[in-house]
């Protein structure tokens, strides 16, 4: 059966990539994407744990699987809400980032 090593590395790297993007990227939409990558990495970690717990006729431990399924649905709801918030902010202020506006009207460095 398939080895979990590639997915362990991918999952940890995804968390790192997502975290980096969340901190570094300015545009709100890109932050939302980075947050989803981070979440995807965490879910994959659950997947690796589930796979290692396979047994008794189950191809993967059902408990982490069930938790990831609820997690995916909640992540979708959170993403939808974040997108609506970003759109509304854009509608009202015209801004695409959440940087503080400086005196000259442009965000601080």
């Amino acid at each position: 059966m398939s080895a979990v090593l590639p997915y362990s590395i991918a999952a940890a790297a995804l968390v790192a990539l997502g975290l980096f993007g969340l901190v570094v990227q300015a545009a709100v939409l890109r932050k939302i994407l980075a947050f989803n990558l981070l979440g995807g990495g965490v879910f994959l970690l659950f997947g690796v744990v589930a796979r290692r717990g396979a047994g008794a006729g189950a191809t993967a431990d059902p408990v982490p699987q069930a938790i990831v399924i609820t997690g995916l649905v909640v992540a979708f709801a959170a993403t939808a809400l974040a997108v609506v918030l970003a759109l509304r902010m854009h509608q009202i202020t015209g801004a695409a980032t959440i940087a503080e506006a400086a005196e000259d009207g442009f965000p601080d460095k």
Binding site: A13, Q25, L29, R30, L37, V73, V74, F76, P107
Partner: protein, 311 residues
């Protein structure tokens, strides 16, 4: 050969993720993210978690892509603002070090897990029969972690309420989202006519087989929601006003049925959400049916967004 599949897939997943971060435009990033969702679906299959793969296919690759792409179209410009707000090199390096450290620690932690890993697979497989469910994941969702699933269904209702509350006061009670013109002819009209009935059948099928095989209310509900979105963008239906009683009832039917079943467990069984023996299967089927409806309603309303015009 199997190992090659896994390494290739893991590399492609990371490549798509890197593209999503580094893409030159928001649109390119979102398309990269949709590709990421598709690749992760395959990864879940290789990890033996077909239930999760099905959910990822429906929600990750399908629904999330739709809301993000629709948002990209409406978010305009701001290149100057974005570049001004992007942190300088020092912050980048610090963030890179922090993120790299977290990733490294996680990788080490996961690889250091004891072998064989402790797990609840045996318990879940052995006790799923008590609920009359053949699919152990469904049994965990309704039984062992039933409270999580109940709370999650409530989270969906609150998410819809939060999205609705983004509307200006004068729009409260109105109709969500933009109006799409009705397509009388052309490719989309054909697609809507052919895909809708097939999609409805597949959605109900996926929700129904969830008791015995991969599938269930979340996956089936998402497909049903997607079919409604197709009918909406093809101009066949208009979103209902959020003041409509029917919409609100559809939204809370699932959590309500779940709660009532929980209290029935107190009256007939051992406690809240304890499924009474003998009645477990029919009660779970009722809750699942109501939940499929509510998940479909909630996801469709989340895609449609806050009310934008008067009813």
């Amino acid at each position: 050969m199997g190992g090659l599949v896994d390494w290739l897939l893991a590399a492609l997943v990371l490549g798509a993720a890197a593209w999503t971060l580094a893409a030159p435009t928001g649109f390119a990033a979102v398309v990269g993210f949709v590709g990421f969702g598709l690749l992760v679906t395959l990864a879940w299959v290789r990890l033996g978690a077909v239930d999760v793969a099905l959910t990822e296919a429906a929600i990750g690759a399908g629904a999330t892509g739709v809301i993000l792409l629709m948002a990209v179209v409406r978010l305009r410009g701001g290149a100057e603002e974005v570049s001004a707000a992007t942190p300088g090199r020092a912050v980048m390096v610090a963030a890179g070090l922090l993120a790299g450290g977290v990733g490294l620690a996680l990788a080490l932690a996961v690889l250091a897990l004891p072998d064989p890993a402790p797990g609840l697979a045996a318990a879940a497989m052995a006790r799923r029969g008590e609920l009359g469910l053949g699919n152990p994941v469904a049994a965990v969702l309704m039984g062992y972690r039933g409270l999580d699933t109940l709370l999650e269904s409530v989270v969906l209702v609150f998410a819809v309420l939060a999205v609705w509350s983004m509307a200006p006061d004068r729009r409260w009670g109105g109709i969500p989202g933009p109006r799409f013109p009705r397509q009388e002819a052309g490719p989309l009209a054909l697609l809507a006519r052919l895909l809708l009935p097939i999609g409805l059948v597949i959605g109900i099928h996926v929700a129904w087989v969830g008791a015995e095989a991969p599938g269930g209310k979340f996956q089936g509900g998402t497909i049903l929601a997607a079919m409604w979105v197709l009918a909406w963008v093809a101009g066949l239906v208009q979103p209902p006003a959020i003041a409509s009683q029917a919409v609100r009832l559809a939204l809370v039917a699932g959590p309500l049925a779940f709660l009532l079943a929980g209290f029935a467990g107190m009256a007939l069984g051992e406690g809240f959400l304890a499924w009474p023996p003998g009645l477990a299967k029919p009660m779970i089927l009722l809750v699942e049916a109501a939940m499929t409806l509510s998940v479909a309603a909630a996801l469709a309303l989340l895609v449609a967004g806050p009310p934008e015009r008067a009813a």
